[in-house]
């Protein structure tokens, strides 16, 4: 009996412990997900901001505090004229109102007591009573507060007349409800709450393409990126095969030289390469963006590293079948190295699409016809400085192609880069 009870108790505590552990794992899981989601939000937010801003109109971009959704002001046609619609909340009810243009500015006084008035800056007095000047009576007296004198008016408060100081006066516009003309509000037009509705401006994308040659630049960049990617993959395949499989004289020394060039930064080459382009007449030409980039020591190295993992037996069998070197490369090595080629193609694509310093130097500002996307963006930034919505539409256009490629070939990006990093 006692033994039985003991076992039961032990089982119970074990079950409790188990439950506790489970709860703990769940808490940790939720915490991890929460943290990851927060970081993911930080990572994506600039892109979200870009996308939403690219749909805004120019007034809405400058709205403070910032907001994501693209809004436009509601307008209404009255007597053939488009007028702004405002949105006032009166006694808990929303009213769509428009400015009564016929009345014009109505003079208003802003009244308060001598105790509450902010003498140094009357306009920012906290509790002011806004009353039409026509409804108050000037007592003719003046009261001095903090060295400033203010006129005293007799104002009717809750049915009782009371003497109050006028802090300041201002002309206000009369707003009337569009549905019920008897409902009226007096307010400053500039700061009145504008009635807005969500209104994405997809036309921004169309208009930004016409700006600063962005459409032409997209074509140029596509041509350049395609040629550079195909060229680099081709030369790397050929070179990688030679370095990994052919025992030719001078191979190992040359390979060391190639390895050494990987760490040479492009900035060392930029000035002589620029001069070379000037000498052969490629300054400002698309050829200058393509042909110097066909060679890549890094790509050749990656391809060689991949090729040496392919078993030699495959190749020897093919050699016996009478397949030449090119045949072996094309029929055996290329099909086997799909992931390596994809990784290299993606790295090259990103590099070519996003490259900036070299196009900036060699194409420059003058030849806008041959601009690539990054150069157009740079010009767009200055040309449309007053229209951030268009600037960010341009950025979206430039970022979209790599983004789409990423979504399609995510596996090769992340895994390919993780693998190259480990080698």
């Amino acid at each position: 009996m006692a033994a039985n009870a003991q076992t039961a108790a032990r089982a119970r505590t074990a079950a409790q412990l188990d439950r506790l552990l489970k709860i703990r794992t769940w808490v940790i899981r939720i915490l991890v997900y929460f943290l990851l989601s927060f970081v993911a939000f930080l990572m994506l937010f600039p892109f979200l901001y870009m996308f939403f801003t690219s749909l805004k109109n120019t007034q809405d971009v400058f709205h403070a505090p910032p907001r994501l959704m693209p809004y436009s002001a509601t307008t209404m046609s009255i007597n053939g004229e488009d007028v702004m619609v405002y949105n006032f909340v009166l006694e808990g009810q929303e009213h769509k109102m428009v400015v009564d243009q016929e009345t014009g500015n109505v003079p208003f006084g802003f009244f308060t007591t001598a105790e509450e008035i902010n003498a140094a800056d009357p306009q920012s007095t906290a509790n002011v009573r806004q009353v039409k000047l026509a409804d108050v009576v000037d007592t003719g007296r003046e009261e001095t507060v903090g060295g400033e004198s203010f006129p005293v008016y007799s104002v009717s408060v809750d049915g009782q007349s009371q003497d109050l100081l006028m802090a300041y006066r201002r002309g206000l516009k009369r707003f009337v409800d569009v549905n019920d003309p008897s409902v009226e509000v007096f307010a400053v037009e500039r700061t009145a709450p504008v009635d807005e509705y969500v209104d994405p401006q997809f036309g921004n994308y169309n208009s930004v393409l016409q700006l600063k040659n962005l459409d032409r630049a997209l074509i140029n960049t596509s041509v350049v990126t395609l040629l550079v990617t195909v060229g680099q993959v081709t030369t790397s395949l050929l070179g990688g095969y030679a370095f990994s499989r052919i025992q030719f004289r001078g191979r190992d020394k040359l390979f060391l030289v190639y390895l050494g060039t990987i760490m040479i930064p492009f900035v060392v080459l930029i000035i002589p390469l620029y001069q070379l382009m000037v000498i052969i007449g490629w300054q400002g030409k698309i050829a200058a963006l393509v042909l110097p980039w066909i060679f890549t020591a890094y790509g050749t190295f990656l391809m060689r590293q991949f090729f040496i993992t392919i078993p030699k037996e495959l190749e020897e069998a093919a050699l016996l079948d009478g397949l030449g070197r090119f045949g072996i490369l094309w029929r055996i090595f290329v099909p086997l190295s799909g992931p390596a080629i994809a990784t290299q193609a993606i790295i090259t694509f990103l590099y070519a699409w996003n490259s900036f310093l070299w196009p900036l130097v060699i194409i420059g500002d003058a030849n806008t016809v041959n601009h690539v996307v990054t150069l157009s963006l740079r010009q767009l930034k200055t040309a449309a400085a007053a229209e951030p919505n268009l600037v960010l539409t341009g950025a979206a256009v430039a970022i979209l192609p790599p983004l789409v490629l990423f979504l399609l070939a995510q596996r090769y990006f992340v895994e390919g880069i993780a693998n190259t990093g480990l080698k």
């Binding site: 899981r29 901001y49 030409k285 996003n354 963006l377 960010l392 950025a395 983004l403 990423f406 990093g421």
Partner: protein, 563 residues
């Protein structure tokens, strides 16, 4: 089978009975050698070669003389029916053909045709959709199994549509008619015809030598040699033309006063660029009234001063901007490392937990690194905006929240991210770190997945808590990965240009935005002091070189541990 017969031929060279065509090739090799010598002499006689200075002239003449010598030597060895001579002649002839064809492309304007291509594509843009449509048809018909009629004819239809669109694009853009007619007229010029003839002779000579392997008793190693170089040719030609050559030129220019905006050619100035750049002068102020310029050497401007005890030490430099840029680059790298590597490691640790959805987060974190820096800078420029930007808005919200919670009176900082000299580099670094964190965490994650699970579990059994496990097991095993990430981030940081250039902008005159490469860009492409800029480039290179050597040292000493 051809392999065996050739290698058998190696044992019995058929010297003595030379072929008549071989004599023609020998004559050709001598002609090539003579031609190279002539070119070398011509190069030496040119007044100036693009203002680059006579050093380049001498160098080029030397290269041509070397080729001439090699060509003469190959003719002599061909006469002896020597295998190495054949390889040399083949190499010269084949390279000659490739270069002649490349040159032909140059004089006929083939490369500049890329401009026409882009132009044509631009003008017949709508037909590109046709290509996409054709591809869709092709793709859809390939969904059907092998042998299905839809697969067959749908494939034809798709390919047909694509081909038709390509032809229409070529026609409407004028690429086909105008382009080809321009090419033909250019090819029919005298100089083009000469180049074509030369290329054909080079090609025939190398093809002939190629087929006469058995005459020369070609060994396997010799065959491998020409085959290897043949495969390497596209790679190697562009390596020499666009990498090795410019690299040498850059090294040479860094010792000259080369300035293409001036009329006179580059003068060799020895180390003066480097001394100008690196020269420092240190002096101690006698009293507080003394000006800094009085205690440092002539030609130097005050860079910075600091006080130790009673004495104020003034450091001056000839090129203060260089030192500022160096300091900024150093700062940039330091903060980039701090902001991007520990968070990346933390994210990788989170991602390494075996829970569903990690691949999604990994992909999301990676996205910033694929976007162009210029585009990203445009976004961040508005995020950083002091009045309508989200960053200041978020700060204000946090400040208000804290004020509301504790009743404190913290004022809105209203940071001027992009104009305040003290923090604009910080703004650049934050953006750069945002771009690189996901990339680094993917590499860290790959490293973490290489950490043996048993080791961590054994430690857990031994009672090690999370922190101890991280510090004592994971971190040491992650050493090589951490080092790799640090080095790649550092190398990218040392070359930072687009980030400050696009985010801070050219209109901001502050020197706080100058990184080394930015300074180099200004020197080379605004002031055209290209000799001096080359020297700056080599200093950047040396910094990267040191960092890379460190990486090699560290990773090779760590290899044994990680394997």
């Amino acid at each position: 089978m051809a392999v065996t017969s050739r290698s058998m031929g190696a044992s019995q060279p058929e010297s003595g009975k030379a072929l008549p065509a071989l004599y023609v090739i020998m004559v050709w090799q001598v002609l090539v050698g003579g031609g190279c010598l002539y070119v070398a002499s011509q190069i030496l006689q040119i007044e100036r070669i693009f203002n680059l200075g006579n050093f380049v002239q001498i160098f080029l003449a030397g290269v041509f003389t070397l080729i001439a010598a090699a060509s003469f030597f190959s003719a002599y060895r061909l006469y002896q029916i020597n295998g190495t001579g054949r390889l040399l002649a083949m190499g010269i002839d084949f390279t000659g053909m490739v270069l002649a064809l490349l040159y032909l492309g140059h004089i006929t304007g083939l490369y500049l045709g890329l401009d026409t291509l882009a132009d044509g594509l631009y003008r017949s843009l709508s037909w590109l959709w046709g290509i996409a449509l054709g591809y869709m048809v092709l793709w859809l018909s390939w969904r059907f199994p092998e042998g299905n009629l839809i697969r067959k004819y749908g494939g034809y239809a798709g390919l047909g549509v694509m081909a038709a669109c390509v032809v229409i694009i070529l026609l409407t853009s004028g690429l086909l008619l105008n382009g080809i007619s321009a090419l033909v007229t250019n090819i029919l010029r005298v100089d083009s015809i000469i180049v074509i003839v030369v290329a054909v002779i080079f090609g025939m000579a190398s093809a002939y030598l190629l087929r006469k392997g058995d005459v020369f008793g070609e060994t396997t190693s010799q065959r491998d040699t020409w085959q290897g170089w043949l495969f390497l040719m596209p790679n190697f030609v562009s390596f020499v033309l666009f990498f090795a050559g410019p690299l040498l030129l850059s090294f040479y220019l860094s010792f000259t006063d080369y300035n293409p905006a001036q009329q006179n050619p580059a003068q060799f100035v020895g180390l003066s660029n480097y001394t100008q750049m690196l020269s420092l002068s240190i002096g101690t102020l006698q009293n507080s009234e003394q000006r800094g310029a009085e205690v440092i050497a002539e030609g130097h401007a005050e860079l910075t001063r600091f006080t130790i005890g009673d004495s104020t030490i003034v450091i001056g430099a000839r090129d203060t901007l260089f030192w500022y840029s160096l300091f900024n680059t150093f700062n940039y790298c330091l903060f980039l490392l701090v902001f991007s590597i520990p968070p990346a490691l933390g994210l990788a640790m989170l991602l390494n937990s075996k829970m569903p959805g990690m691949k999604f987060f990994r992909a999301v974190f990676f996205i910033p690194s694929i976007a162009a820096v210029v585009g990203v800078a445009l976004i961040w420029q508005w995020l950083y905006d002091p009045t309508i930007g989200y960053i200041n808005y978020a700060i204000l919200q946090v400040v208000n929240f804290i004020n509301g919670l504790f009743g404190s009176q913290i004022a809105d900082p209203a940071v001027k991210w992009l104009t305040d000299e003290r923090i604009l580099m910080l703004s650049v670094v934050i953006m750069a770190a945002w771009q690189v964190i996901g990339f680094n965490s993917v590499i860290f994650l790959a490293g973490l997945q290489g950490v043996p699970r048993e080791l961590v579990e054994a430690a857990t059994v031994d009672g090690a808590n999370r922190w101890t496990r991280f510090r004592k097991i994971i971190l040491p095993l992650l050493g090589p990965t951490t080092f790799f990430v640090t080095i790649t981030t550092l190398i990218a940081g040392l070359q930072a240009f687009a980030e400050p250039f696009s985010l801070i902008g050219e209109n901001n005159p502050s020197t706080a935005k100058l990184t080394s490469v930015y300074y180099l860009y200004n020197l080379g492409f605004s002031n055209f002091r290209m000799g001096y800029a080359s020297a700056v480039a080599w200093v950047v290179f040396i910094a990267i070189f040191i960092v890379t050597i460190l990486q090699f040292r560290f990773s090779s000493s760590n290899r044994a541990y990680s394997d």
